[in-house]
């Protein structure tokens, strides 16, 4: 860092303003989850000085802290939302695993092997995302009904994995493209087979790429609404879909909705935290002379 003290201060303030700008909505939404109805709608709006309550969480998940001990009330509260979080987690993790596994293999092949039409492949892959999802949703509904995939984990995992594949493949391909071909060649001379090169050398190098791709896939699945709405009914329901149930004919239960939203941030946050240590820069560090 250099520049005058004044410039440094300005930069410092600007950085914190920006952080505040992004963070404030999250804070406000989360704080709404801990308010009673009056504090949510007070005018002027209260930023900090509300009376915290966990009534919303109690209603949504059936958790209470009476006597300082967390308790799960039988029946899981009025809205019974904990299983919905679980559905979202299963679908998010499952579809991410599948998408990343397939994308990694496909991207390595696309990056390294020449086959007929390989240079058209990327265009093809991308074109599958050019249809508006709405146009796909209705046919998908009929297909899923035919295959008994409606309202199942399998069905949701498949559709989210498919939706994620194109971008995941492109992203992973760019990571593999950054691994210099000489490394493969060197290993070839060392006598390694294609598979050994992939598994022992290239894959460990692309770990950061896999982590980044996994985060994107998971977040997509976590927030996806349209397919989750059309392809599920009662057995499986994800968080974005059930959020709408708080909007009722007698008004919107903002506090409850915020409680679900705040709770939904948590698993995604934990997932990102778990993979972020792999999000290292400098994929080829030390391999080449520079």
């Amino acid at each position: 860092m250099h520049g005058t003290k004044f410039a440094r201060t300005i930069r410092f303030i600007a950085a914190w303003l920006l952080v505040g700008l992004f963070f404030f909505p999250i804070y406000y939404w989360t704080s709404v989850a801990f308010r009673n109805g009056r504090d949510i709608f007070s005018r002027p709006p209260k930023i900090f000085d509300f009376e915290p309550t966990i009534a919303n969480f109690n209603a949504v998940f059936g958790i209470s802290f009476e006597g300082g001990v967390p308790q799960i009330t039988p029946g899981g509260g009025n809205f019974y939302m904990a299983p919905r979080l679980w559905d979202s987690i299963v679908i998010g993790v499952g579809s991410t695993l599948i998408a990343v596994a397939i994308a990694t293999l496909a991207a390595y092949a696309l990056s390294r092997m020449r086959f007929k039409g390989s240079h058209h492949f990327v265009g093809w892959v991308l074109s599958t995302r050019m249809l508006p999802p709405v146009a796909v949703a209705v046919p998908m509904f009929f297909i899923y009904r035919q295959f008994n995939l409606l309202d199942t984990y399998t069905g949701m995992i498949i559709i989210h994995a498919i939706m994620n594949l194109p971008l995941a493949v492109l992203l992973m391909k760019s990571f593999f493209d950054d691994v210099p071909n000489e490394i493969d060649e060197s290993a070839t001379i060392d006598g390694a087979s294609r598979w050994t090169i992939f598994r022992r050398i290239v894959l460990p190098m692309a770990k950061g790429g896999i982590a980044a791709t996994a985060v994107l896939c998971f977040i997509f699945s976590w927030t996806e609404f349209l397919f989750a709405l059309t392809l599920t009914q009662t057995d499986v329901r994800t968080v974005p879909v059930v959020s709408t149930t708080f909007v009722t004919s007698v008004g919107t239960a903002w506090g409850n909705m915020a409680a679900l939203g705040a709770a939904a941030i948590l698993p995604a946050f934990i997932f990102v935290l778990a993979v972020q240590k792999h999000l290292v820069r400098g994929l080829t560090m030390g391999s080449l002379k520079q």
Binding site: E185, S186, I189, G191, T196, L288, K289
Partner: protein
């Protein structure tokens, strides 16, 4: 016996012909340097031997056996890449042992060879580091170590020293050369640095645009460059050239250009009347009051033990190398002479060397 041969070898990338019908034989155990400007096909040739590029015609043979269709791992070669290509997620030890592991050698044998290589290359303190924790020169040695443990018959080096600093480069030159003496493997070494070529090679193979221009020992290519191209490429600073004619006048044979007349050896008599290029190496030019090259000093550069003096003669610049004590000042009028035996004569049209007996 691992001699390396190209027989009319060709390589094209699509429509672009990079190597056109090249034949070459590198005897067993010799240190051959492939020398040429950037893009002339040096790496491509090396990769053809390694099996990383398929030939589009002709043949490449190792130890007398055609290997065009042999897998790289079965060619009995080891290669050090232009950019090292170390495996960044493996420690130095694992980098070096990788090949041996693939070969499924016994653990004890792997350990023995790795520690032997580490001793030769002074890598022992770094065996448990990752490549990113090494300096450029250390990485370079790891790349060599990886090649070394294979105990291959042919070593291929692709500009292994190009990114190192001058001092380390000089040091590694000696190390690589000593390693070669020790292992006795046939070595092909690519560089575009003619000093590396001169100092390291048994045989220099000078390339231009995918074709061989001259093959010979460092002395041969320095003393008898077969063309203007070679003469210009080898030697630093570069050779000085003058356009002129050979004249025979009674007993005397002379090279004559505008404002310049130099006595030549009698063997050039048969070439009288020919348009030629005359070449003189900067270290063959000496200060002499009656010298034929008369001009004015425009620049004097010290390189340490020597000075490079740039002299303007009419409208061409000539470089002379002299001992440091012979320093000249800017603007000084000087005369330079060259011993008749030290000039190189090339045909003006074909630029080939003229070498009458």
């Amino acid at each position: 016996m691992s001699k390396v041969e190209f027989k009319n070898a060709q390589k094209a990338f699509g429509a672009v012909k990079v190597i056109e019908g090249l034949s070459l034989e590198i005897p067993h155990g010799s240190f051959a340097v492939l020398l040429g400007p950037s893009g002339c096909g040096k790496s491509t040739l090396l990769r053809m031997i390694a099996g990383l590029e398929k030939l589009t015609g002709g043949e490449v043979a190792i130890a007398g056996k055609r290997v065009n269709d042999v897998h790289p791992r079965d060619r009995d070669i080891a290669m050090v890449f232009q950019n090292y290509a170390l495996y960044p997620t493996m420690k130095v030890r694992e980098n070096i042992a990788f090949n041996l592991e693939i070969q499924k050698l016994e653990k004890r044998e792997i350990e023995r060879r790795v520690s032997e290589a580490a001793d030769i290359l002074n890598l022992r303190p770094f065996l448990d580091r990752y490549p990113k924790e090494l300096s450029g020169g250390q990485r370079q040695r790891v790349a060599m170590g990886r090649a070394l443990v294979r105990e291959a018959g042919v070593f291929l080096f692709d500009e292994p020293l190009s990114n190192l600093d001058a001092k380390l480069r000089a040091h590694m030159r000696v190390e690589i050369r000593q390693l070669h003496e020790r292992l006795g493997a046939t070595t092909l070494y690519v560089t575009h640095d003619q000093i590396e070529a001169m100092t390291m090679a048994d045989i220099i193979v000078l390339l231009d645009k995918g074709a061989i221009v001259q093959v010979g020992t460092p002395d041969e290519v320095y003393e008898k460059p077969n063309s203007v191209y070679v003469a210009d490429f080898i030697g630093s600073p570069s050779m000085n050239f003058f356009d002129g004619e050979i004249e025979a006048d009674g007993e005397e044979v002379r090279f004559r250009a505008a404002n310049l007349s130099i006595p030549l050896e009698a063997r050039y008599r048969g070439q009288a009347g020919k348009s030629v290029k005359l070449g003189v190496r900067p270290n063959d030019l000496h200060f002499a009051a009656d010298g034929a090259f008369k001009g004015e000093v425009i620049l004097s550069e010290t390189t340490g033990a020597e000075v490079q003096i740039h002299v303007r003669i009419r409208d061409s610049d000539v470089v002379a190398v002299a001992p440091r004590t012979e320093r000249r000042v800017h603007g000084e009028a000087v005369a330079l002479s060259v011993p008749p035996g030290k000039v190189h004569i090339f045909d003006a049209q074909s630029e080939r060397r003229i070498e009458p007996q």
